[in-house]
Every structure is written in structure tokens, then in C-alpha cells.
């Protein structure tokens, strides 16, 4: 019975795949050329890299809602925390880190060398996003990677609580973005995230800086929250 059902799923997937392939090969060429529209307005966007122009200017509201999604995901993970009462209490301090085992010393040395370089590269990526590949997301991912490396090397404790500094840091970028959106929408003759002429480049850089810090904290938080539960579980069971 199980085998027959499995086979049915595979056959249905193959049929759907054939239909998708047929639809793609039969697709007429598009009459809307978004790339040309982006290129025509690129000078007014405040940046010279088209992907950044789309992300932070032409379709800035997509990015705004995406950051909200990330924040909601972090909140959702907090609600799944094992020790519900302890998590959100402001006074809770995590226990001090134990002395590292010998095999971690090499990793700690590596982390101490690499993490400053990663932070430097994140800063470069943030700045480079205005005119070439790079930007807030890649920079934030590097910062989060630095956080993961520090945690694995035993230099950064996992999040067993969600302290005020973390709350403030993970919401700052989003708040600034929302403020910019509200200000541009409220301005006379303004539309949502339509930056005033001449200010676009500066505003995009400020928004991206805030997003890098907050997204880096949120992405690192995804890992640090999950690794906290892992160590909690093994501690209580042993």
C-alpha cells in the first residue's frame, strides 16, 4: 500500500514536471522589459548598481516587508523556547562559559583571526553595494557567519535570553526603514519610499547600514537561539 502511494506521488510529480517544461518551452517572449525601465531610471535612484536600485529604491516596499518577515520569524522562534519563563525575564544571566577543551584552541585562534576580517569584509560589501555586487543582505550574512564561528569556537555564548540590547539592535534597522517610509509617504506630493531628489544615495546608505546591523543580529540569532536549546537539553539530561 505504501509502495503504491509512493509510486503515485512520483508519477504525479513526473506529469507535473512535463507540464511545466512544456509551458516554459512554449512561453512567448515578454513584451514588458523591466531591465530597460530600470536602466532608464538608474540615474535617479541614487546608486549605480541596478540590483541595489531595485531592492532599496524601485521596490523598496518589498524589502521593507521582507525585514518584517525576518523579525516575525525571530519572534516565532522565541515563542518556541523551551524555558518560556526564563527567556523573557530581563534579570536572567547565562552561566559563564566553561574552560575550552584542547581541540577548540585552534578554532579559537582561527576565529580571532577571521572574525575581524569578516567584519571588515562586511563593511566593504555594505559600501560596495551602491555600485557593484554586494549590499546589506550579504554584509548581514557575513556578520551572522562571524557570530556562528564565534559560537562554535566557544567565544560567544548562545542566546538563552532575549535581553534589551538584542531587542533594540534587532529592531533598529526596521524602525529606521519604517520611519523613512512614513516620512516619504507623508511629505507633500510624496509616495511611499519615493526619496526626495538628491537625498536618495545618502538615505539608501543609511537604511542599508541599519539593515546590516539588524539583519546580522537576527540571522545570527536564528543560529544562537537553536544552539542554546541544544546545550540546554544535554545539560539537564546528563
Amino acid at each position: 500500500m505504501k509502495g503504491v502511494l509512493d509510486l503515485l506521488v512520483i508519477v504525479l510529480c513526473l506529469v507535473l514536471g512535463a507540464a511545466l517544461w512544456w509551458a516554459m518551452l512554449d512561453l512567448p517572449s515578454s513584451r514588458i522589459h523591466l531591465a530597460e525601465q530600470v536602466a532608464a531610471k538608474l540615474d535617479a535612484s541614487g546608486v549605480t548598481h541596478p540590483v541595489t536600485a531595485v531592492l532599496l529604491n524601485f521596490r523598496g516596499y518589498d524589502t521593507l516587508i521582507e525585514v518584517m518577515v525576518l523579525f516575525v520569524a525571530l519572534i516565532g522562534m522565541l515563542t518556541q523556547a523551551e524555558k518560556g519563563s526564563q527567556w523573557l525575564s530581563a534579570g536572567y544571566r547565562p552561566p559563564p562559559l566553561p574552560a575550552p577543551p584542547f581541540h577548540l584552541e585552534v578554532l579559537q585562534w582561527l576565529a580571532r583571526v577571521l572574525v575581524p576580517l569578516m567584519i571588515l569584509t562586511a563593511g566593504y560589501l555594505l559600501w560596495a553595494g551602491a555600485h557593484r555586487a554586494g549590499g546589506a543582505f550579504q554584509a548581514a550574512a557575513l556578520l551572522a557567519g562571524a557570530g556562528v564561528l564565534l559560537n562554535l569556537a566557544g567565544l560567544l555564548p548562545a542566546w538563552t535570553t532575549f535581553r534589551a540590547g538584542m531587542r533594540a539592535g534587532s529592531i533598529t534597522g526596521l524602525l529606521f526603514f519604517v520611519l523613512a517610509a512614513a516620512a516619504t509617504a507623508a511629505a507633500p506630493h510624496g509616495h511611499l519610499l519615493q526619496y526626495p531628489a538628491g537625498w536618495a544615495g545618502m538615505l539608501i546608505l543609511l537604511i542599508e547600514t541599519g539593515l546590516t546591523l539588524s539583519l546580522g543580529l537576527i540571522l545570527a540569532g536564528f543560529f544562537l537561539l537553536l544552539s542554546a536549546e541544544a546545550s540546554d537539553g544535554s545539560d539537564t539530561e546528563e
Binding site: L20, M24, A35, V51, V54, V69, M77, F137, F222
Partner: protein, 108 residues
């Protein structure tokens, strides 16, 4: 046939590989992997179809960049939920699935 169209067709295939994995594998971590492969397939279709006439399309690239970041958030939330289920039930599979297979050992 441009190479972008080849990648779009590959994306459709990857999407369905992910769907099959999501349905057929009882283990929740496998389901999460299948879900990520589905997402990668969709991203390939978006960019591949957008660029199938050979020109680079920054709009679809920006959308996919957004999508990658959202998919890691979804993965993290799914892992938190799966871990909660593991702590509550001791199993990493959905209630009611995989119970009727005595010969099959759970993944190590």
C-alpha cells in the same frame, strides 16, 4: 536554447524533486531540506525565465535575493518547531506518519 532557459528547466525539475522529498520522506529534517530544494528550484525558474532572451534582469535578481533571505528565516522557524516536537514527543516526524513501518529504522 540559451543557458538561462536550461537553468529554468532545471529549476522546475529541482522544484519537483523537492516536492517528492517533502511528501515521501517522513523525517522532518528531510522535509526541511526538500522545502529548501523547492525554493532553490523556484529561484532558478524566476531568474532563468527572466533572462532567457540573454539580457540580465535586475528585477528578478532582486526578488530572488529577497527570497533567499526569507527562506532561511522559514528554515530557522521550521527547525525551531521541529525541535519543539522532538522535545515533546521524542520523534522528529509528524504525529501519525511513519508509525506503521516496524522494519524501518529511524535516521541516525
Amino acid at each position: 536554447m540559451t543557458s538561462a532557459l536550461i537553468y529554468a528547466l532545471t529549476g522546475a525539475a529541482l522544484f519537483l524533486i523537492g516536492v517528492a522529498g517533502l511528501i515521501l520522506q517522513p523525517h522532518l529534517l528531510r522535509k526541511i531540506i526538500g522545502f529548501n530544494i523547492m525554493a532553490s528550484g523556484i529561484f532558478l525558474v524566476l531568474v532563468g525565465l527572466g533572462q532567457r532572451e540573454g539580457s540580465v534582469d535586475p528585477v528578478s535578481q532582486a526578488m530572488v535575493l529577497t527570497g533567499i533571505v526569507v527562506s532561511v528565516a522559514a528554515t530557522a522557524l521550521a527547525l525551531a518547531l521541529a525541535r519543539r516536537l522532538l522535545d515533546l514527543t521524542g520523534k522528529m516526524r509528524l504525529p501519525g506518519s511513519g508509525e506503521g513501518m516496524p522494519g524501518k529504522k529511524p535516521d541516525a
